[in-house]
Symmetry: none
DNA sequence: ACTCCTTTTTGCAAGATTTTAAAATTAATG
DNA sequence: CATTAATTTTAAAATCTTGCAAAAAGGAGT
């Protein structure tokens, strides 16, 4: 069973999650309010529920409570705009299993969603290869150890640099626009500019590339974005 | 036979144990209540049972009693939130083999689980090298003797300091977040702050490093956590 | 070669994170 | 029960990262 139910009124977030869940071959059904969600939940079975807290009409916590009363086990993840600790505690008390605050990096959200989905199902697909190293030329990225090295030498990367490199390198040859990168790493609701990406790419290259005028790892797709060599 | 059955309703603990048992190549099957557990026990064989005492429906002690009646030998470990001595005594009378109170350090729990598993099976895999010393540069850690020395000189470490050093040094190069360290050494339900880790790292360094501004053993992964040199 | 547009480079201030030191709390011991 | 040791919390100083902007350099098309 691979159906996920999302209750969210922001179309931008809906679009993004739909994109990512479907790319991982999950079906994402979306509702914009609580009544719709509860109705959907009555007819169909879902492997995971994702509820926005701030919604018109019934809010996320209320939905959570109602659904938890009907189904003790289904994994529930809450989304919220404010990083309010009280919301978090309250949600978890109401029976939510995880809690993500906006702006969230889509990759982080997906990772946590997968953890919940995994828990619910016995047949471990474990599709994502979070566990194996990525190697290209003299570069090795070990996500498990949070470590990257080039020519046997450990790279001293900041968290953002590491994430950026990991994302690009996980999909060699795919060009990511600055917008996409911001969305995936900085989060959907990130208010900043795309310069930021440029800066980070630059700093990464300084640490990785031997010759900045002829990069071997992080390549520019002119007018489009960046890609990892393949 | 390497199957372990966990009966636990807290998803956080479930997640953590699953992670650790699977990393040690055990299969961990999880149930959230007693009926499910007993049903599973009827069909499959397990090398170890871990029961939370406080559960919705049938509690851990009741499950223990029922299962012990069906199988005299299977090792059973109890988990409980309150360090109540009476619970402990009662559990052991009901046939449990070990008893761990929350918050528990995951490493301690794993060690005790392994001890029980070992008892049950004669063919000792002994996968983990708990018994050999760890040596790096001038530092020697002897887990068996709970002793560490640097430059032939015994270090006077407190228990927490020793555990922290041992954990980091058993996986050189891997960056552990403060959260991970808390979870593994202090326990899942530890209510404190991550500063605590910082403090212990600091005191460890004072005892181990020659130059605090250029540590050779315990390194900082900026924005991420700490790691042992490799 | 010229112009327009994009990318690279550089520097900096604001904000985070880590270090350090010391105080407060808790646990262990006689 | 008092002392001592161990652990946790707090707070400030030091350090590093990040986001942004502006200048310099690099393509693309004419």
């Amino acid at each position: 069973m691979n159906r996920v139910l999302l209750v969210e009124d922001d179309p931008e977030i809906t679009r993004l999650l739909k994109l990512h869940f479907e790319s991982q071959s999950y079906q994402l059904k979306t509702c914009v309010d609580g009544e719709e969600a509860i109705a959907a939940f009555e007819i169909e079975k879902f492997a995971l529920l994702i509820l926005d807290i701030t919604l018109p009409g019934l809010n996320g916590m209320e939905i959570c409570k109602i659904i938890r009363a009907k189904d003790e086990h289904v994994p529930i993840m809450m989304l919220t705009s404010h990083g309010e600790e009280s919301d978090k505690v309250l949600s978890l008390e109401l029976g939510a299993d995880d809690y993500v605050t906006k702006p969230f990096g889509i990759l982080e959200l997906m990772a946590r969603a997968k953890a919940l989905l995994r828990r619910g199902s016995k047949f471990e697909a474990n599709k994502s290869n979070d566990h194996s190293d990525i190697t290209f030329k003299d570069l090795v990225i070990d996500n498990k150890k949070k470590k990257a090295s080039i020519r046997e030498q450990r790279l001293d990367l900041t968290p953002k640099e590491f994430d950026l490199l990991l994302l690009l390198a996980s999909n060699p040859g795919k060009t990511y626009s600055r917008h996409e990168l911001l969305e995936m790493l900085w989060g959907v609701a990130f208010p900043g500019y795309e310069h930021t990406i440029t800066s980070h790419i630059n700093r990464l290259r300084i640490k990785i590339e031997t010759n900045l005028h002829d990069p071997q790892y992080i390549l520019t797709s002119w007018g489009t974005g960046y890609r990892f060599s393949e």
